[in-house]
């Protein structure tokens, strides 16, 4: 494995981790709106 391999692997790993964090964060903050306001107590701001 050369330096370029490590750099690419690190970049992909960071991208994947960021994507996962984004998905989890959105789920927790309720950004993913169900569209059903009566049943959904979240104020998603969408």
């Amino acid at each position: 494995m050369s330096a370029i391999d490590y750099i690419i692997l690190a970049a992909v790993a960071i991208a994947v981790v960021l994507a996962v964090i984004y998905l989890i964060k959105n789920r927790k903050s309720g950004q993913e709106c169900s569209g059903d306001c009566a049943n959904c107590k979240r104020n998603c701001g969408k």
Binding site: M1, S2, I4, D5, I8, L9, V12, A15, V16, A19, V20, Y22, L23, E32, C33, S34, G35, D36, C37, A38, N39, N43, C44, G45, K46
Partner: protein, 781 residues
């Protein structure tokens, strides 16, 4: 005689509104009350539903519902019409303006730094979201279809960071009968905004003011935005703003949200009434002389009766009194009345009904419309029939005509699909795919020349570029589909489609409004699922979402083409047609099954306002497309990126984590797939390679073909001993779970459990029907 018995073009006066519950209250709220003149405009091409004109706007309703509305065509009955008064100079009350309404010594401003919260409330399709965008600079979706805003949105007013405007769903009244009404009412009652901005469509003041009456009763500072004034004055109408302000006791500001006129004045008034907490000067609309003062006495008696309970429950007393007369159980529960008080309440209501000769709900609706008519008679010069209305009537003669509606619809939808999937969309998709391919080649060459490891190269090229790239190449198709459908929706055509398709869809338990998502489903399930948000009923929305995967999406075309070319050469059109037909037929059967089991009951009543045709604003269309593109790209670089890396890993490594290279032989994915071999054996598809291809189709349908090509290396045709297994594969691919992007969008709309349930449900149906197809073809051939 009922409205149903009238002929197109015939007018009559409503004598009674029968039925019960939500639908009846909705009719009353929409101005369908005894004494009102109604004209039948037309019937849908299939004879049901019908379109009527009431209070100067068009309303659609089903014949079964129209049966409850009794009318008389007797010449002796005089319809309630306006006495048009010439608008003259009038005194300016100066409400919501510094130094005019309140004096410095008596003013009671909110403490500095208080966030001024506003609720933006109005009827459906009166320009609320357009105003919200103008006030806040937001990019919310604007349509010309009732019910575009299905959930609330918040943002601060431009230049006023200490403000927060909430755009609530469009409602016709504060009755607790629809989801939107409950949301809006609860917001105003529990979150207590500092002020309400009530937007009224000036071209249809009568019906819009019905909601205003109820908002005024809530005793919260309020300002009225009289929208579409340009359209009204352009057609010869006018409003004496000063008189209207004086009669309603709140500031009234004429605006044109679409042309950004009057917005600054509206903001000034709104901020002023909120900051100084200037409450409406009037909440009492009942007339002492009306019906011998019966409604007046009833409301005031109840107000006194419940005063202490209303204060304890934090409810405005006048609002609570009106709602009690209307039989609102939610308010009654909140008030916690004693049995004695409940008895008194019932006695007062019975007395009202006996004196007025109407039931309580009708009497209240009648009182409100009486007041509105008085306000309109004093302050409104009604416009002549608008240019927009005349134009709409002409267009409708063709687009909703008895013999032309369905053919015109077929031609329009075919044009949309042709432009999307054959011409513009396809061209742009190919262009983008070529660009991605070129970038992929350049990247691969760069990695080779940089001596990058084989595994890293495979991750970047086979994983990320192939996975994310193939999904990204769908961006143009998504954007073009939305562009064309937005044009149709914003112009007002989709509302008409819902009108004339209602009868057909009702047979499978849906309402006419579900036709659009189902049609989009033929293009792509993702936007189809997203577009169900405009459906007003939760039942209809869930049912429509679950039916969209049966409309064969365009991404499955490569699979069909591949299988047809391999097994049915020369019979392409026939097999392709049969596949699409099978998808629709199964969808209909599933809908009938759902209607009888999980989604019992009828589709929501089809009481809908038909808007005039309008030219969509280019700014709004571009804004929406930008939003959709952003949403799609965000998805490609989050959920798709993660899942492609995971699939790449499973496909590229064996159980000992040795790199298994491109062939995928002995890979983890193939081991996982081998567990599925027994499941697919009865279908004649018991091979780990086929199972792998089907699993990869979960990521993107197109990859089924590419995976087969890689794993079978040209020996695919030889693998199948009979045509029956090929048919089974075709049927399975048609009906099994939609791709991960579609499942994700279902998850967004209905939650994980339903999304997961849908995957299992689709796979089960696909398996059963594929097995049935194999048995039939084995027997026949």
């Amino acid at each position: 005689m009922t409205i149903k018995d009238l002929k197109a073009g015939q007018s009559a006066v409503i004598t009674a509104v029968g039925g019960d519950g939500a639908l009846r209250q909705h009719f009353l709220d929409m101005g369908v009350i005894p004494g009102t003149e109604v004209t039948v405009e037309k019937f849908a091409p299939m004879g049901d539903p019908m379109e009527i004109r009431v209070h100067d706007y068009e309303l659609t309703l089903r014949l079964a519902d129209a049966e409850h509305i009794s009318v008389t065509t007797s010449k002796d009955v005089e319809a309630l019409t306006h006495t048009v008064k010439k608008v003259t100079e009038s005194h300016h009350p100066g409400l919501g303006e510094s130094g005019k309404y309140h004096e410095k010594s008596t003013e009671n401003p909110l403490p500095e730094g208080t966030v001024l919260t506003f609720a933006l409330v109005g009827n459906q399709n009166c320009g609320k979201t357009t105003l919200f965008n103008q006030l806040t600079g937001s990019n919310q979706h604007v349509g010309n279809f009732p019910g575009v805003t299905v959930d609330r949105k918040d943002a601060s007013i431009k230049g006023h960071p200490d403000t927060l405007v909430t755009d609530l769903p469009g409602i016709y009244s504060m009755s607790p009968y629809t989801v939107e009404e409950v949301v809006s009412r609860d917001f105003v009652l529990t979150e207590k905004p500092k002020a309400i901005i009530n937007i009224i469509d000036a071209t249809n003041i009568e019906r819009n003011m019905y909601l205003t009456m109820q908002l005024l009763e809530m005793n919260i500072p309020m300002v009225i935005a009289l929208n579409m004034m340009d359209e009204m004055t352009g057609n010869g109408g006018s409003v004496d703003i000063n008189t209207m302000e004086a009669l309603l006791g709140v500031p009234v500001v004429p605006i044109s949200a679409a042309k950004n006129k009057g917005i600054n004045e509206l903001i000034d008034h709104a901020v002023h009434v909120a900051y100084y907490q200037e409450k409406p000067l009037r909440q009492d609309f009942c007339d002492e002389s009306d019906h011998g003062g019966a409604v007046h006495r009833c409301l005031h008696a109840i107000s006194h009766l419940i005063e202490d309970h209303a204060a304890a429950a934090g409810l405005p007393v006048r609002f609570a009194a009106s709602k009690l007369v209307e039989g609102d159980h939610l308010i009654e529960e909140k008030l916690n009345l004693d049995p004695n008080e409940k008895d008194m309440l019932e006695h007062i209501k019975i007395q009202l009904e006996s004196e007025v000769g109407l039931d309580c709900s009708s009497a209240i609706a009648d009182m409100r419309y009486d007041f509105i008519l008085k306000v309109c008679a004093s302050a409104v010069k009604k416009p002549a029939e608008s240019k927009e209305r005349i134009r709409s009537r002409k267009i409708d003669k063709f687009l909703t005509g008895k013999y032309t509606a369905i053919p015109a619809f077929v031609v329009i939808m075919m044009t949309v699909f042709w432009l999307t999937f054959n011409v513009v969309g396809k061209f742009l998709q190919d262009l983008l795919a070529q660009g991605i391919d070129r970038l992929s080649v350049i990247t691969e060459n760069a990695l080779i020349s940089a001596n990058a490891n084989e595994v890293v190269r495979s991750l970047v090229i086979d994983g990320i570029f192939n996975g994310v790239g193939s999904v990204l190449s769908f961006l143009p198709v998504i954007v073009i589909t939305f562009f064309l459908l937005t044009l149709l929706e914003a112009s007002g055509y989709i509302a008409r489609v819902a009108f004339f398709m209602d009868k057909l869809l009702r047979k499978i338990g849906l309402s006419g409004r579900s036709i659009v998502p189902l049609l989009i489903g033929f293009g792509c399930t993702v936007p189809a699922v997203m577009s169900t948000r405009t459906l007003p009923s939760e039942r209809d929305r869930k049912m429509t979402v679950l039916l969209t995967p049966f409309m064969s999406c365009s991404a499955k075309l490569p699979i069909y083409s591949f299988l047809i070319a391999t097994f049915f050469p020369g019979k392409g059109a026939l097999v392709m047609g049969a596949v699409y037909f099978l998808g629709i037929a199964v969808g209909v059967l599933v809908a009938l099954f759902m209607k009888g089991t999980f989604f019992k009951g009828e589709a929501v009543p089809f009481v809908m306002e038909l808007p005039n045709y309008r030219l969509p604003s280019p700014k709004n269309v571009i804004r929406l497309l930008g939003e959709k593109a952003k949403d799609f790209i965000r998805k490609a670089f989050t959920v798709i990126l993660v899942s492609t890396v995971v699939i790449w890993f499973l496909q590229s490594f064996d159980l000992h984590f040795n790199f298994a290279a491109k062939s995928g032989a002995d890979s983890i994915l193939q081991h996982v797939s081998s567990f599925l071999v027994p499941v697919f054996r009865p279908l004649g598809l018991g091979d780990a390679r086929i199972c792998t291809a089907l699993i990869s189709g979960f990521i993107a349908k197109e990859s089924v073909v590419s995976t087969i090509e890689i794993l079978f290396a040209g020996s695919f045709a030889e693998f199948f001993p009979s045509i029956a297994s090929a048919v089974a594969m075709l049927v399975f691919c048609l009906l099994y779970t939609p791709c991960v992007a579609a499942v994700n969008s279902v998850k967004r709309e209905l939650g994980w459990k339903t999304a997961l349930g849908m995957v299992v449900w689709q796979c089960s149906i696909a398996w059963v029907l594929a097995y049935a197809a194999k048995l039939i073809f084995t027997t026949v051939l």
